[in-house]
Amino acid sequence: MPITGKLIFILIIFIMYSLSFVLSRNTSVRAIEKLFLTFFSISLIGAIVFSNQVWILLPRMLQVNAGSDSVLYLFIIVSTSFNLIILRKFMEIENKLNKVIQRLSLNEIKEAKD
């Protein structure tokens, strides 16, 4: 893989990390994240189904060989993105659970005071 291909790969992973953890989670960021993920997931399926004959443009854009190389490339991007999003979701759920427990504890001491 040429150096530009490696840089594009690192850039895509960095973009997914930024979307998940660095930028504030507003509607636009969530939408862009979903678009990215959908695009790469469809590309992954496309890279398998239309491996060498039709699916030429994307491997060329990503500076990677068509066929198994592009499948592996896209698989790493999609799985890493999924993992980042799931980690983010877990953290959000953990935070919400913590908030519920904190509320219960604070309400309890308030009631005890009353």
């Binding site: 953890f21 989670r25 980690l87 983010r88 935070n95 427990i101 904190q102 504890s105």
Partner: protein, 229 residues
């Protein structure tokens, strides 16, 4: 002696039944308002605190020291009009006299925050284990480079914080584990408040003090949980 009726000491604890008596005795000499945040202890710490006649907030599950402090801060803001909160480790490694002197400094100099530091004087340095000293120095450097936190002690649990600072800048605390210490330091530095560091002594005879290798957990967690998000 300075009046401490407007000060609330917040003591997060987790399975500290062996240290509570000592912490209570030490703090009671200097402070009248103390609240313990029992972060899901399974050793009847809460019952002992109630038996000793002190208030406690009990989390149903262990959420982490950051969450315990957050609950303490929320109680601090909602109840009586306290002006200052003191965060004090429940494992007995802090000294109440240091907390008292920090309150004294905060009131005399009208400071928003006073942060305890083990590295301001050479007097207490030999008491800090070498590896811990090394890790704390690396942590301070990391915090300075990545978050512009200019404290000499990266993770000191002894702090004096003014009401406005807690209300306007510190809450909510996003990191409920030990990474909360970096988050609090970051928010203090970013708030443009007036703060000073104060030399404190930390006792290391308690086996339950934080493992130095936990700094790796904190460092990696910081990558995925920015303080301002």
């Amino acid at each position: 002696m300075i009046d401490t009726s407007d000060v609330l000491v917040i003591v997060p604890i987790f399975n500290e039944i062996n240290n509570i008596n000592f912490v209570v005795r030490d703090l009671s000499k200097w402070f009248e308002n103390i609240i313990f945040i029992d972060d899901g202890s399974t050793d009847n710490s809460s019952e002992l605190i109630q038996k000793l006649g002190f208030k406690s907030i009990k989390h149903l599950l262990n959420l982490g020291q950051g969450a315990a402090l957050e609950s303490g801060f929320e109680y601090f803001l909602k109840t009586k009009d306290y002006k200052y909160a003191v965060t004090f480790d429940g494992d007995g490694q802090n000294r109440a006299i240091d907390a008292f002197n920090m309150i004294n400094l905060a009131k005399n100099d009208n400071l928003d925050a006073v942060i305890g530091s083990r590295f301001l004087t050479n007097e207490y340095l030999p008491e800090i284990p070498y590896f811990k000293r090394f890790v704390l120095k690396i942590a301070s450097l990391y915090e300075y480079l990545f978050y512009s936190i200019d404290f000499t002690d990266a993770h000191n649990g002894l702090r004096v914080l003014k009401r406005d600072l807690i209300r306007d800048f510190l809450l909510p605390i996003n990191n409920h584990d030990m990474a909360h210490a970096s988050e609090i330091s970051y928010k203090i530095c970013k708030s443009n408040c007036i703060y000073k560091e104060f030399p404190v002594r930390v006792k290391y005879n308690n086996k339950k003090t934080q493992n130095s290798l936990n700094s790796i957990n904190i460092l990696i967690k910081n990558l995925f949980k920015p303080f301002n998000n």
